[in-house]
């Protein structure tokens, strides 16, 4: 059973619909106890980092997620803000992140970049940097839908599995053992997202 965490601010229904489309067994988890049945977790999210963490902490999800991911080695996929919440901290707020991966979240418009329209919104492509279970380096260009103002900067480059160019390159997908994160929205990326979700379901 794949549990899609709905702590209150995310649009979990799109993710659920796509998992159903690829034949996955899925339910929405609105409280930590729902994770008891889980074999995999999806953490979607839109909105502010602090708001996202506050909801996970207050509902008790933070501890349950850590237990599932670190002790039970359950696969987890963080999407957009969900990817950022896996990190240690974010420039967007003051709350500590889940700290499941050694990475920080920075604003896209940092000094090294030219003046960009923020948020980075629209379709963009990936450069797969490491062999991984979710994304393959197909000959056909794969495009994904992005909407974000912050990006994940891993402490070590091995964590990154795909990079995307917006002004300069940033890490658009990460993987460390059972932990996966994507900055883009696979649930809104047509057949490219469907393929990624199918691979996560089949892990």
């Amino acid at each position: 059973m794949i549990v899609v965490i709905d702590s209150g601010i995310n649009n979990s229904s799109s993710v659920v619909r796509m998992i159903q489309k690829v034949g996955g067994n899925v339910k929405i988890g609105s409280k930590p106890e729902d994770l008891k049945e889980a074999s995999k977790i999806v953490l979607p999210g839109v909105g502010h980092f602090d708001e996202g963490m506050k909801l996970l902490n207050e509902s008790g999800f933070s501890e349950s997620i850590k237990e599932c991911v670190l002790n039970k080695k359950m696969p987890i996929l963080g999407i957009c803000l969900g990817m950022q919440l896996l990190c240690e901290c974010s420039e967007e707020g003051n709350q500590k992140g889940l700290g499941l991966v050694a990475a920080k979240v920075l604003h896209l418009n940092d000094a090294s970049r030219e003046k960009l329209k923020i948020p980075h919104m629209g379709w963009n492509t990936l450069d797969i940097t490491r062999c991984n279970p979710l994304l393959t380096d197909d000959p056909e260009e794969q495009r994904f839908y992005f909407v974000h103002s912050y990006y994940v900067k891993p402490n070590t480059s091995e964590l990154c599995i795909a990079k995307t160019l917006y002004g300069s390159e940033f890490c658009s997908a990460l993987n460390s053992d059972n932990i996966f994160g994507v900055q883009f929205h696979p649930e809104k990326s047509h057949r490219f997202g469907i393929s990624l979700m199918r691979k996560f379901v089949e892990l």
Partner: protein, 253 residues
């Protein structure tokens, strides 16, 4: 490489898909869910659905219909029409909609828009502005739900207020161009795109791929169109079309 978005915009009235001309004379096109299915199959970049009678008649959004729309979209969906409160917005996001488009609320209650941005993030709030060119060539803002026209000085004040409220995108509609297939208002796109740091979605008048390219060159981050994607030929026969990805890529990159 990031490309500019090309977005079909669908108008809904009483559950029907319609198309207007200069915001008037709604013409029945067909079943919106069917149209959305076709656009999904054509792998459109995004889709905007506007339920045009809701604000005017002070009606609640049609949640059941919105849920049906969202169920057909494996691409980002923007909904607009009658959204006045945080609760309504929250309910719509939970149905699987990515962005909410506000228009008359921008005139009525800028504080609510600020709260929406705080709660849902700027990327999920699109502010839509409709402008009409006066005989002197300046642009007048219009609130279509009340048919109020504002003097041309107010255009920039209003835009500034929305940017300060933190909206993630500005959708700029040229009323005189709506449904006319007579080409976009390039001057208007240039004027507004220079003034804003957030993405600009231009809408109104598109009748060819070349005009989409011209809009992008004038500064639009995304180009929306209605009639261009639902009508075909001089007799405006209903035919839902969308250019294949490689064509758009060749056009815009």
């Amino acid at each position: 490489m990031l490309k500019h978005r090309v977005i079909p915009t669908l108008l809904i009235q009483n559950g029907d898909l319609i198309k207007t001309c200069k915001f008037k004379n709604p013409e029945y096109i067909g079943d919106p869910v069917n149209a959305i299915k076709i656009f999904n199959e054509k792998e459109v970049d995004e889709l905007i659905v506007l339920d045009v009678g809701k604000s005017k008649d002070h009606l609640e959004p049609d949640y059941k219909l919105i849920e049906e729309f969202a169920g057909e979209c494996f691409m980002p969906l923007t909904y607009g029409g009658g959204v006045k409160t945080l609760e309504q917005a929250s309910r719509i996001f939970r149905l699987g909609v990515e962005k909410i488009c506000v228009n008359s609320l921008c005139f009525e209650n800028i504080e609510t828009i600020k709260s929406m941005v705080m709660k849902f993030g700027s990327q999920s709030i699109v502010a839509s502005l409709d402008v009409k060119k006066s005989v002197f060539g300046d642009y007048k803002l219009q609130d279509s739900s009340t048919s109020t026209s504002y003097n041309s000085n107010y255009f920039e004040t209003h835009l500034e207020q929305l940017l300060q409220a933190g909206v993630g995108e500005i959708m700029l509609g040229a009323i005189d161009k709506d449904g006319t297939l007579s080409g976009p208002d390039i001057k208007l796109i240039k004027k507004v795109s220079r003034e804003i740091g957030v993405p600009l979605i231009s809408v109104g008048g598109i009748s060819s791929l070349e005009e989409i390219k011209n809009s992008v060159e004038a500064g639009a981050s995304a180009v929306a169109a209605g009639a261009f994607f639902v009508f075909h030929g001089k007799r405006r026969a209903v035919l839902i079309t969308y250019p294949p990805y490689h064509e758009l890529e060749a056009l815009l990159n």
